[in-house]
């Protein structure tokens, strides 16, 4: 009985392989099938914009963020209605939108969506490696293109444009007001200097088991990323202006690590857990027992939408003693394997969903009614005096549903502080190297900061030398 079943299955399988051997073109081609990669349809270029075209997009909000996911789904439908010849055949919802584990595998396989999300540290690398399509010829069709602020520069290389930022912001200090109150600190006067941060962190950690005064990253490149943000704030640099040498083995770099070391070991105010990837620290912050972390305004929104944080408890103030702000943000690029039609359609989607005031994610009326926050000072894409910039700000103000005070400290405190871009096209590798000193000061009481920085400097120098 059992063996008969087995043998029947086997028969089926043998038949299947036989078929596979005989007619080579039958089954396997399903693999190449409906990929977004368009190897098939490039001939129709002359047929004009109305030829049917199919694209894939990513960064659909995850199921955990139901409200925003709903708006996104509505937008996909509305977009396809507005452009009947464009089909969005698939929307992927990895979270975070840049999820290093799957992103890298997809990128290497050329399997990224037609329109894909990219955060600033990866932009330079993708442009250098030819992994993003040149969109320069099509930018003239974008209505708001002229209004972009300097965040667009990041997506330019040799005079060509390779993507569009949809989100830009400077770093700040995110803190939990409730925790501040519990620790006897005034939530309305957050720390303005690192000394004050240290003192506040110590008090918060004193609240008892599980409380962490200040949380910081230390692995998977996010450690190096926050080191860079910190050293920028202190007026330092990660690499020299010509991009050939490391520039962080300086008093500023030492101060960053020294400060962390003090908090971790002298004050014991940073907890003992390492936060080795982006969600780890967010999860901890969202859990409500952490006092402060470095972050941008979008952190507050993500804490609310994705990490179950009580939104009203959080606020952001300016990065302490900041002399320059790490230019954070994200945007979209187009898969280089796309056809011109797909590039055009993809740009239409980016424009529709992220760039048009009053539409898509900038539809603040809908957002207000959909249990989403309106009023946070981002995305900050357009120059303040441009039509698009003004439109966004006005719409945002008119529909604001959050307490502006949560962001006021950051807005006021960051004014006039210049922004500074991430360190060159090899930022990811440099961050990886800088993870080491970060994790060292957070895991070893006897960490030798001079030695750590000197080692990292050697590594970065040889990295940059090898990249030429």
């Amino acid at each position: 009985m059992k063996s008969r079943k087995l043998s029947m299955l086997l028969a089926a399988a043998i038949a299947l392989t036989a078929a596979g051997c005989g007619s080579s073109d039958s089954s396997g081609s399903s693999g190449a099938g409906n990929a977004p990669t368009a190897s098939s349809s490039s001939s129709g270029a002359a047929a004009g914009a109305e030829a049917p075209v199919s694209i894939t997009v990513n960064c659909m909000p995850p199921k955990t963020n139901a409200a925003q996911r709903k708006t996104f789904e509505e937008d996909i439908a509305a977009f396809q209605k507005q452009y009947p010849y464009i089909t969005i055949s698939k929307a992927t919802d990895a979270f975070p939108c840049y999820e290093p584990r799957t992103f890298e595998a997809k990128l290497a396989g050329g399997e990224l969506e037609t329109v894909f999300y990219v955060n600033f540290p990866n932009v330079g690398r993708l442009m250098a490696d030819g992994q993003a399509a040149d969109i320069t010829p099509y930018t003239s069709e974008l209505k708001t293109f002229a209004d972009y602020n300097s965040s667009l520069d990041l997506f330019k290389k040799d005079g060509k444009v390779y993507g569009l930022p949809t989100d830009g912001y400077g770093m700040g200090l995110v803190y939990n007001k409730e925790v501040f109150t519990k620790a006897g600190l005034d939530p309305n006067t957050p720390p303005k200097t690192w000394a004050e941060v240290q003192a506040a962190a110590k008090k918060i950690a004193g609240l008892g088991a599980g409380y962490v005064g200040f949380g910081e990253y230390s692995g998977n490149n996010v450690g190096g990323w926050h080191f860079s943000a910190s050293i920028y704030g202190r007026g330092g640099s990660v690499i020299t202006d010509d991009g050939t040498k490391a520039a962080f083995n300086t008093p500023e770099g030492k101060a960053v690590l020294e400060n962390l070391k003090q908090m971790r070991w002298a004050d014991n105010s940073m907890g003992s857990r390492l936060y080795i990837d982006w969600p780890a620290l967010m999860k901890a912050m969202g859990a409500g027992k952490m006092g402060m972390m470095l972050g941008a305004p979008d952190v507050l929104i993500s804490l609310r939408n994705d990490f179950g944080g009580k939104f009203e408890n959080y606020a952001i103030t300016a990065q302490p003693e900041a002399k320059a702000l790490f230019n954070g943000g994200a945007g979209y690029m187009i898969n280089p394997k796309s056809t011109p039609e797909q590039i055009k359609a993809g740009l239409k989607w980016i424009e529709f969903e992220f760039l048009t005031p009053g539409k898509g994610q900038l539809d603040y009326v809908r957002a207000k009614n959909a249990d989403l926050t309106v009023g946070q000072p981002y995305p900050d894409l357009y120059g303040a005096d441009t039509p698009s910039g003004q439109a966004v700000v006005e719409l945002r103000k008119a529909n604001a549903n959050i307490d502006a005070a949560q962001f006021a400290g950051w807005v006021e405190g960051s004014k006039g502080i210049p922004s500074k871009a991430e360190p060159g096209p090899y930022a990811q590798e440099i961050y990886k190297i800088l993870d080491t000193p970060m994790s060292a000061v957070l895991t070893r009481q006897d960490a030798n900061i001079d030695q750590l920085l000197a080692d990292a400097e050697t590594k970065v120098n040889s990295l940059l030398a090898s990249k030429g």
Binding site: A13, G31, K283
Partner: protein, 327 residues
């Protein structure tokens, strides 16, 4: 223990011969009376049956049972109950041994948010397909090498066995590139089940096991069928397969378990979140999930394994014991 006693190299693959039957007779069954065993071990049975021996035996038994339960069952208990706790309760110090209230919300949320149904379905598809394809391809190949003995058959066999020297992990990058852009055909197999199925079938160890088993099938049996006019396919099907059930079982189990337990390969070739296997899916979604939902998803991912393993434990353990001696 199963009746397939195994020495490496000469693993499960002896067809039922009189010797095999004899062995079966000697195989330890659960003893009816305590303290006797049908086979002799290091501890002397006489010592064991003294009072002192008995006391020591029971102490050892209790210690072993308790410590093993603590090491292997308690983590599972902690996982199953952890998924029923709220975030606050999970972070309570000291922890609660039983969840405050019986809540399956974590499980429901995990099922829904992670799309565990899809992930499990994918994994079953990958494992099942790999199983069928591997059997079909490797059985035919091993049969050809063993009984039809074509020209250059020895070379082919040697090349296949040579792959045992090289663990798949170290060639994962070129293999990945191959799957991404299959030479000659130019197909991109990424995100398709073929990316799992086809490499799974290229398994030298299966060929080795099967061929050795087929080698031991008496020639007369096949020749008799040949004289009756049976075609090679027919012979393979009606003569060889029925007597090869033990080895087919071993190969089946090996294949399914290998696919089920693989991590790196599906990580590379199935980056699309809708195509992922359960391990990859959970790993890549783990970071955003609240702790109790993550734990619940681990439980759900474990249940099918535990059930299947419970039902087929004898054959699985026997098969893997034979098969884990693999290069």
């Amino acid at each position: 223990m199963s009746n397939i006693t195994i020495t490496p190299g000469r693993s499960a693959g002896t067809p039922p011969t009189p010797a095999g039957k004899h062995q079966r007779g000697r195989t330890p069954r659960r003893p009816r009376k305590p303290m006797t065993s049908q086979f002799r071990t290091a501890v002397s049975p006489h010592q064991l049956n003294t009072t002192r021996g008995r006391i020591i035996y029971w102490i050892v038994l209790v210690v072993v049972v308790v410590s093993f339960t603590a090491a292997f069952v308690f983590p599972l208990y902690w996982m199953i109950t952890g998924a029923m706790k709220s975030s606050e309760e999970l972070n309570a110090i000291p922890p609660t041994f039983l969840p405050e209230h019986l809540s399956f919300d974590g499980y429901l949320e995990a099922w829904d948010l992670l799309g565990l149904g899809t992930l499990l379905g994918n994994t079953v598809l990958y494992a099942g397909g790999a199983w069928l394809l591997t059997l079909a391809i490797d059985v035919t190949a091993a049969y050809a090498l063993s009984k039809l003995r074509p020209v250059l058959g020895k070379v082919v066999l040697a090349l296949m066995l040579a792959t045992l020297m090289i663990p798949p992990m170290v060639i994962m990058l070129p293999a990945y590139l191959t799957v991404k852009d299959l030479p000659i055909f130019g197909w991109n197999l990424l995100n398709t089940p073929w990316a799992i199925w086809l490499p799974a079938a290229a398994n030298g160890f299966n060929i080795f096991l099967l061929k050795r088993f087929f080698d031991s099938i008496p020639k007369e049996l096949l020749e008799a069928a040949e004289i009756d006019g049976a075609s090679p396919v027919r012979i393979l099907w009606s003569v060889v397969m029925p007597i090869s059930r033990p080895i087919l079982g071993v190969v089946s189990i090996l294949t399914v378990v290998n696919v089920w337990r693989d991590f790196v390969w599906p990580l590379l070739v199935l980056p699309d979140s809708e195509k992922m296997s359960i391990s990859i899916g959970i790993a890549s979604l783990s970071s955003q999930m609240p702790q109790n939902v993550l734990i619940a998803s681990l439980v759900i991912a474990s249940i099918p394994t535990i059930v299947v393993f419970f039902i087929f434990q004898r054959s699985i353990m026997a098969g893997l014991t034979a098969g884990s001696l693999k290069g």
